[in-house]
Amino acid sequence: MDKLLKSRKAVGFDDFLPLVIAVFIFLMVFLFVGFAINNSEKAKINSVEEIKDKIMMTDALINYLRADVQDYNLKIADLIYLAEDDKKYLPLLISTTEQYFSSLPENYFSKYSYELSIAGKNIGKSIPIGNRHCPAAHNILQSEVLLPSHAKDYFIKVSINRAYC
């Protein structure tokens, strides 16, 4: 090495250029492999976070459906059926839903954009919940509960959807 450094002989351009290209290519290889490893770690963390979030969403969904409706002898799940059969209950359902989720602790639905969706034969409603709302949400994670229908031929699907903004 010492001999090489002390050498006064110039490095020819035809030797220098391939050396630069090789160094550049190896750098790229290291970057790509590094990025790939990092990316797979991130994917793993995200998938764990997704499971955790889905558990939290399902928990919230079940508690929501079992919650009492103020001033009525009804649960929110009953109100969904009433709104499915008669649209006059829809404003009450929306206000009860908003009231229920706004009463949850502040950090409950704060990290991403969340919405509650109710889909039946006669009802289709999405209600934003939590603090972050974005119109162009993507990468949706869904937790859903199917409710039995007295009409037998369909279910009412109630879900909480989490999305990135």
Partner: protein
Amino acid sequence: MKTIKSKKAMILYYVVFIGILVSFAAFFISYFGKPTAYLQFEGAIQLSFINASQEAEKQMLYNDIAAKQAAAKTSYELALNGGYFGASECGQIKGLNIWSSKYVPDYKNNFLRLMLDNLDTILGTKDELLRGRYLLSVIDNSLVGTSKSSSTVFKTEVFKKEGSPDTIRYEYAVNPSFKVDGLTVIAELNDIKEFLQFANCNGRTDTTNCLSRAWDKWPKRESYSPMFAEVQDYKSEIEIKSKKSTLILKEGRLYYEPLTYKLAYSAE
């Protein structure tokens, strides 16, 4: 061979080329490919337990709702039938089941019989396992359904790898019981029975007058709106509407309104 024996430093481009290919492949697979099985981390089994318990919770919620709707249908049908399951043993007047001092329906038992039929219909095909498996009882204003035999089992698998024999399975079992609160029909039929005893119109030809006069003195009259109509001597038509709203399932639609009880009264 000449290249290998050469002492001059050089770059082996084919090695570089393979390296580039490998790194690109790693990048594209990690970026665009599906994430590898997430179950390979500490705490995965515990999370699977929570998942299974939530699946069970969903099933319990489904059963509770089905039971509530069946109770709403049963309440409506029983009120319309004057507390009877089908036709009364002592006959009908204008299609209304007769109550008298001798014939008072066992409405609590009739409610449970009708409820079992309605519950099976509403549980439908999704819960073939649960159909006809409940023991029902009415406690105060609640209906309680307990499973007759074994519990429902929710199976979950962890460490699932394609083609691997290392898959671990476990079972999460729950007893699919249910409870429907706020049942009004039994208490209200009790009130009607109590009113007819209070009126004590047995043997009176003008039953409608007798019932109307008794109504004005009955302590619980504020909770109901009555309608009495003369049918013939000794017999009256009675329609009593409650003032308390409850869930009613009629003709395939759910309503939140008071129950109306229809029956006939015989003073003979």
